[in-house]
């Protein structure tokens, strides 16, 4: 009986990925076929957009905040704490990074670190502080994680424009005049198309490192296993002598750390924080949640999903510029969202950590 079970489970897991991969390939082949056959059609334009290096580098940049927040979300939720406050973490780090850089002064260096990098780390620190508060509230005070996560978002959403207004008189900060810039790797960056991977801002490189690193930590280190166990069956972890609270704190703080990188990178990529409406973060934290659910809690999958959203956005931006199609831009902008719904409706649920969202009380009788 057990062998059939294994095979069938493998099948479903496999079919999930196969379905997505097959779908992607089918869509691409479709576009490529029609694009090549009818060079004057929209398909040709689409194909041109899809295989352009500019689209790739654009998608990579757009993916940065989503990916980092998604990685963070994975660590927290795998450890058993659902963090829907990622959006708030992005906002607070984006703001802190800019204001710190501005206060220090763009040209100044501290301990040999240019102000912008000090600002970068300050942003990460701010996100860490927020995630620590969130962790204490959820773990120590057993707050409902969803509500506390909402609160983190709301506080950040209020606090960043509030502070900007106190300091600058308006919800937007001034431009700090520098950005993280671009690091170009000679030779490699000359490769067609994929050269975009070697001609990017530091945050893109960080992302390309963070994704496999997160995967490695989760799957190959003892700490990662403890994280997973803490989200699946904390009692199992507790009874083998690992402190569940500590693992959960670590998971949530990691989510703060990673989201902080995403937020800092977002605002410092521009040198400015925009605080209008939903701020410049504009829902990226929520998209990140979608991304990791989509990626089935696998860092690689989450990156894939983030990259998909970013890619759709990059394509959408370019598709708009193709003249002659009477689709209103606002409708084109809904493509990524509709895609998510369609895929969700097709593949259904992802398996969430069994104990995510639940408090773990040590010493409680097991029933």
């Amino acid at each position: 009986m057990s062998t059939t079970t294994i095979d069938q489970l493998r099948d479903t897991e496999l079919s999930y990925r196969m379905l997505l991969a097959a779908g992607a390939i089918a869509v691409f082949s479709f576009i490529a076929f029609f694009g090549l056959v009818f060079p004057e059609s929209i398909w040709a334009d689409l194909l041109g957009i899809l295989i352009s290096r500019s689209t790739l580098s654009s998608a990579l940049r757009l993916a940065v905040p989503i990916t980092f927040a998604a990685l963070g979300g994975i660590f927290a939720e795998k450890a058993g704490v659902i963090n829907i406050g990622l959006e708030g973490l992005l906002i607070i780090s984006a703001f802190t990074a800019v204001i710190t850089t501005a206060v220090i002064g763009p040209g100044v260096t501290i301990l040999g670190l240019p102000a912008i990098w000090v600002g970068f780390f300050a942003g990460v620190l701010a996100s860490l502080v927020f995630s620590l508060i969130f962790a204490v509230v959820c773990i120590r005070f057993k707050a409902d994680q969803i509500i506390a996560g909402l609160a983190v978002w709301l506080i950040a959403l209020g606090l960043a424009p509030f502070a900007a207004t106190v300091y600058y008189g308006g919800v937007n900060t001034d431009n700090v005049g520098t950005t993280l810039g671009t690091w170009t790797i000679p030779v490699l960056s000359d490769i067609p198309f994929f050269g975009a991977l070697f001609d990017a801002g530091p945050a893109v490189y960080m992302m390309l490192v963070a994704v496999p690193a997160s995967w490695f930590v989760l799957n190959r280190t003892a700490f990662g296993r403890h994280i997973r166990a803490s989200g699946e069956n904390p009692k199992a972890l507790d009874t083998v002598g690992v402190d569940v609270s500590r693992v959960r704190y670590a998971g949530v703080l990691l989510s703060g750390f990673l989201s902080g990188i995403g937020g800092s990178a977002l605002s410092l990529g521009l040198g400015q924080f925009i605080g209008n409406n939903q701020t410049m973060v504009n829902g990226k934290g929520f998209i990140a949640i979608v991304a990791y659910l989509f990626g089935n809690y696998n860092p690689l999958g989450a990156f894939g999903a983030s990259f998909l959203f970013a890619g759709l956005e990059a394509v959408q931006i370019r598709l708009q510029q193709v003249p002659g199609y009477a689709i209103p831009d606002s409708l084109i902008q809904t493509i990524p969202y509709i895609t998510v719904i369609v895929i969700l409706a097709l593949v259904g649920r992802t398996r969430i950590p069994q104990a995510a969202g639940e408090h773990y009380d040590t010493g409680e009788d097991n029933r």
Partner: protein, 355 residues
């Protein structure tokens, strides 16, 4: 930045909306016994101060009035359309102080003001960017398409030639420019229409890429859009996208291309990007703000009238960048002077909508 004792940094007309205590409006009222020449209530457009363009321009106007006419003002930054009537009303109702004028910045306030104004017949209002047909409202509109035509014409002339200045350069052979809009709304289309007409006026062959970000605050997206345009070979990108547009400048800088600012002279307000901002389509919001205050102070309030400010009235203009302006070839400048005259003379009809 210091505590209260250090006092407020005076904002200058040049560098508006910067650090400082403009926000602590309670202290703006001079304490001298004489009292201010007039009290003005400012209701800004959505997006608030610090946009380095529209609202900040209005603020320059009122600051100018404050220093030159000795008025006092208080300001409100609504964050949703439904707050417009509330702020308008608060000013209109206030008795301490009694406001001599309420300035409503932005077309979005039109419908709110159409309701508010009749309810306060003794209160003077002014609105920028749209027309409210009430005897106690002075309306000011701009011909954005005319200014946009000018910068479009300039972009068209420059993309067809080899030109480099500051941190940017045009690519030879490629005749391409871009336009980035914030939200796809009629007003922004007006900018686009004028710009496109200007570009085509220079050379029918020029390709114009246009795209909308869907937001006035998504600067990251603004940057991506502009980057995609530069990647395709666009030399110059003009934006009418508020905070989103800041991403356009960033992209220009990174790509070594040019950008055109909007509303304020952005080569000054965004001085970090002065080396890529060729020019700005300034919309002198400060002009009607100052003028209406001046009218009130002089007892000549022009309620019920609509003033349209175009190239002729110098309400809109193409202003060359502070740093790059001097490097723009003289023949281009001459052509612009020429087209300006033609527009004023009515020889060139600038469209207000895209086809």
């Amino acid at each position: 930045t210091g505590g209260p004792s250090e006092g407020s940094e005076q904002t200058t007309t040049e560098q508006s909306g910067g650090n400082g205590g403009d926000e602590t409006t309670a202290t703006e009222q001079p304490t001298e016994e004489s009292g201010p020449a007039a009290n003005v209530g400012m209701v800004y457009a959505l997006g608030g101060l610090g946009d380095k363009s529209f609202n900040d321009a209005a603020k320059r106007g009122i600051e100018q009035a404050k220093s030159e006419l000795g008025i006092a003002y208080e300001e409100a930054q609504p964050s949703a359309a439904e707050e417009f009537p509330q702020f308008q009303r608060r000013f209109a109702q206030s008795s301490s102080p009694n406001y001599d004028l309420v300035s409503c910045i932005g077309f979005a306030q039109k419908s709110a003001l159409s309701e508010t104004a009749p309810n306060f017949p003794d209160q003077n209002f002014m609105i920028v960017d749209d027309e409210v047909d009430e005897p106690n409202v002075a309306s000011y509109k701009f011909r954005e398409e005319q200014g946009s035509f000018q910068v479009g014409y300039m972009a068209g002339l420059l993309t067809t030639q080899e030109f480099s200045a500051g941190a940017g350069a045009t690519t030879t052979g490629e005749k391409r420019v871009g336009f980035v809009g914030g939200v796809d709304a009629p007003l922004i289309r007006k900018f686009q229409a004028g710009y496109e007409a200007g570009v085509k006026h220079a050379d029918e062959e020029i390709t114009i890429d246009t795209a909308y970000a869907g937001s006035f605050s998504d600067s990251a997206k603004g940057k991506e859009i502009a980057t995609s345009m530069y990647d395709k070979g666009a030399d110059i990108v003009y934006h009418a996208a508020g905070g989103t547009g800041l991403g356009v400048f960033q992209a220009a800088k990174e790509q070594g291309k040019f950008a055109i600012g909007v509303d304020s002279d952005q080569s000054k307000t965004e001085s970090n990007y002065a080396d890529v901002i060729l020019a700005s389509m300034v919309k002198r919001v400060e002009t009607p703000v100052f003028a209406s205050v001046e009218n009130v102070v002089n007892g000549e309030f022009n309620g019920g009238s609509t003033t349209t400010l175009g190239l002729e009235e110098d309400g809109v203009a193409a202003v060359f960048g502070a740093q790059l302006g001097s490097e723009i070839p003289q023949d281009v400048k001459d052509s612009l002077t020429e087209s300006r005259e033609s527009i004023i003379a009515g020889d060139i009809e600038v469209p207000t909508t895209t086809e």
